[in-house]
Chain length 344, copies 4
């Protein structure tokens, strides 16, 4: 009953098999391996973007920081949600790589077009004194488990485009959002107006691989230099390629995300039936729910693992509603979900 994080589950067996298959003889280092050609072709095909620049790195923070550095200048500001991973959870890595400031768009987890428009507009009145407007970064799935609809993405991109600003997507859980929306990758990205995507694999069954995709190939060489300068270019790159190739073959990426989302929905349904309240309506593979301390204690005693969101497990009031975060990944066994629900 492990629902703490989609970072703590194992790697999908098909990925391990692909690593073993890649482990034959010599291969060119530093991204010149044959498998990277397959990866590039598959991503271009899947995204209907034949001219896209495609690169692999090993961490989501690297993907975000390098993509944003390539889209911005050090005297600019990057617009994001107050709970964006790039703001809260990357220990100033985006600032380190970009030199830019992060400007938080007021509101909750999900960025609203009007708030974005006002925030961007407010950055225009200081000439050389204030930071200049830079890229907008959208998190899909959001940090609180919500999924922007295509219309919402289009609206946000529309605001950015009206100011001439590029848009980046932190897609650490890209595929969980994609299968929730049941749309195409092109629809969720460049057709909505996005310029660059951190296309996550690690949280969805890989060992540690994220693709960075630029729909405008003119940024390609700069990105390559930034990746090397950031120490994120792998010598034995074939093992990144092999993971991503396996991910994209035979729909592993889609199967894994669907499985995670389905178990999450099953969990949410059970919680709802048991009277839990949802801080955010679960749409993908993350749940933010609150229920009484007494129930949390029972679940923990039975071995359930997940994060409380603010309050301690121990406390005087057994009826106090405590918020928690529950996450499913591709490997969450449905039986464990059911065991958990049985405890409710």
């Amino acid at each position: 009953m492990h629902f703490a994080s989609d970072n703590s589950g194992p790697v999908h067996p098909e990925v391990l098999t692909a690593l073993a298959e890649a482990n034959q003889g010599y291969q060119m280092a530093y991204g010149a391996d044959d498998l990277m050609n397959e990866v590039r072709d598959r991503i271009r095909g899947i995204f209907e973007a034949p001219g896209a620049a495609v690169y692999l790195v090993a961490t989501g923070t690297a993907a975000n920081s390098l993509a944003l550095a390539t889209l911005s200048q050090p005297w600019e500001t990057i617009f994001c949600s107050p709970v964006a991973h790039i703001h809260e959870d990357e220990c100033n890595a985006p600032e380190f790589y970009t030199g830019a400031k992060l400007t938080l768009v007021p509101g909750g987890d999900k960025m609203q077009p009007d708030a974005l428009r006002r925030t961007i507009a407010a950055e225009e009145t200081r000439g050389v004194h204030g930071p200049q407007r830079g890229p907008v970064s959208i998190t899909q799935v959001t940090e609180r488990g919500s999924v922007y609809s295509l219309a919402e993405l289009q609206a946000l991109c529309g605001v950015a485009k009206a100011f001439g600003l590029p848009v980046h997507m932190d897609g650490a859980r890209f595929t969980n959002a994609l299968v929730a929306l049941n749309c195409s990758p092109a629809e969720m990205t460049w057709k909505a107006g996005l310029d660059a995507v951190s296309f996550g694999g690690t949280k969805n069954g890989l060992m540690g691989v994220e693709a960075v995709i630029f729909f405008d190939e003119s940024k390609a060489w700069e990105f390559e230099l930034r990746r090397k300068r950031g120490a994120h270019l792998f010598s034995k790159h074939r093992y990144l390629s092999a993971q991503m190739a396996a991910y994209l073959r035979d729909d592993l990426w889609l199967r894994s995300a669907r499985q995670a989302n389905a178990n999450c929905a099953r969990l949410a349904d059970g919680l709802r039936a048991a009277g839990a309240q949802f801080l955010h309506e679960p749409q993908a593979n993350i749940i933010f729910a609150s229920f009484p301390r007494s129930l949390h204690k029972r679940l923990h005693a039975a071995g359930a693992v997940y994060h409380l969101w603010g309050d301690p497990l121990d406390g005087p009031d057994e009826d106090e509603m405590l918020a928690c975060r529950l996450v499913c990944d591709w490997s969450t066994p449905t039986e464990e979900v059911d065991r958990f629900l049985a405890l409710l």
Copy 2:
């Protein structure tokens, strides 16, 4: 007959097995995995350094840049060889991470104590105007395949210590040097005066793992923050730990390096017998040799793969001596060495 690089060979099967074994159930993310405890204990034991701080990253450039950033200040200068990897092959990553300047110690591949002393001394006369003296970085095995003796390491560290400066070792090929010297890790590091080591695994059979070791634990927390800020902290860290654990179990690290060095020596002996000249006396797993263009052509035609070092294969003079670099790794088949030598 592939002698191009120790970055292009496969991963050792024992490492793949370890990855598969690690791929069971849930594990704490971000370095809190159980295997990391094993890694830390093994490295502390092997280095006879019970208080050492031990961290894993995935690239050698990350190991070097983060270690040096932790040892230096942005107004300092880092002393290194003119052919050091940190200077020539990391696209300004050390400057990016440290903010410091790299000062080249005149001379060849191998740093000489007198030249180091003069270079450090020359940085003292400008007060606030010049950069301040910072760490010394030594590459072991050097970029040209040489190995510093213990006495040489002690002498270099002695110079640094006389100025109160810390010393870092870029040990991308640490184990190749260690088995060449037939000494203990402690002797080749802290007993000689070193403060921090990039302990490489990738070139010696791992997929992509380097340990950074600080013998003074007081730098530990700063390193952790720098690693995260550099986007080099892996969420599914257990797969780094698993590689390094396998590397250190059952002497795999030593076996692999001995195998690489032995094949390199066999190759060198054959080349010597055939009249090749050595630009640097091979001591570990890299050879810099020169022999006539006609012989290079014959070898290439037969499928040998390696880097020419400066001149093109095609040229008018068949007798011209062309320099080349030949590298063996753990996976180089002895039969391939012999096939190569048979062509001489």
Copy 3:
């Protein structure tokens, strides 16, 4: 009738005289001039801080950025008001110099201890993932013309100290606050708990000089290196020293600030009598007031110069209340204030 900024007035004649007096013969460059000794002694005396480290730079942004860089680490966050000059008006200079993130303490212009405590506390739960807590920066006089009382400063410093964090004061208008509070420099700084101050002179009659004062001398050498590395060390430093020396001799700094504050109070009284509303209660030399568009038009037509704060002068509604900012400096003629008031 020029009330646009205390950056657009002239230099005090006593300062020009001091520059002419300093312009004799040779002087050691780079801060080793005799006048700097006088400046250091005067500031240590005035602040009752015999061990303080004292440095001069030419811009307020340099003073703030260098002071904060010396107090922080690049993986930390600096706590400040949402309207702090370091956040809004320095084009990412603080981020450039510190590498840190600026975290805005919710609320208005003036930082509140409870909000500061909550904001600092909220930065503690992420371990290595979130930025670490760093210095608190307080602006005195605030950007909206308010002055923190000694009790308020003590309360803010108390919160910071409870978390072990250093406190910096952006004192671009330090003396305007000091004379408003009628306290000693020591009371307004280290006795309240501050660690470093940007002690402004430019807005109070100098050509371009700000002192940076560290009450803990251990930061001195680092600051000197950061100043040089930031290209802010003047070769002909005596001309910075001469300005600051003149400023501190014969109470010029106090006389100038009292004059500015008095004219500002006179202006505020007149505006209040005429029915203007104050967005912030004026306490020093800046007024934020709103009154009808028709009155703004009349004032502008008569030659008054000041900044509207948000809305355009032209607009359909003559009765609409438009906010504006009015600033006095040492050079504002009282007759001009009276001419302005006569137009009301």
Copy 4:
């Protein structure tokens, strides 16, 4: 008899007069002052460059660092002399502002076209691994008092242009070189192939002003943002403008440099007649000469002030030749030169 530095002399009286004249009433801040229009027009006229972008900063290090940052990328390398001020005397400020590496062109003080070509060429073989080629920076007058001829400048720029690289001139002593060559500013800059110039004023009689000139105006806005972000934009900018305007009016810049060079030549002639040896043939306002210790002692005893270049004044051998640096500025009295020479 003060020949230590052109940083330790006073400001020209015409400059002080101009500062006093500028000190009337209100002026727009941050470079929008009327005097800046005059400065821009004068510089464009003098350089025959009607489209040039012209900016003022207060230190030479700021001029160099900001100009180079505008011409380079952080993954590039800047080519310069091993004794360039940007390398030896700016405490990593160029690295801080540019993020780039400085690559030293082997040879002496004066860069040679062949050495530059070889050095640039050597930076091409590593793809993404090595830093990329960036701007060339030439110091005119050199750090050792030499002046590049127009043909030499053209040759160096020709090499840079053949590789598509921009060229910057550190012209801290621009006018001393200009009057030595007796050519036009256009000939010594853009007609020779230069892209940007740090046009120094401080060492030639100003209080602290350097202009940065870009002959390609497309860099203008980026420079403005970098200047502000570097904390080098002055609020009371009119006092920078006033100095530079005075400098360019009535040929003060040329008169001052001619005076300095003439006194330097007089000094050199006397030293030559007395048997001194020259390390570099003096061409502008700096002399590097060596003569016996006994003579140095006599000069010092008589009150002469200048820097010995390597050896201490005290030493056993009275006949040992000790190198020294002697500098004249606009203010050096000819009688002092003659007093010095009389001591020989």
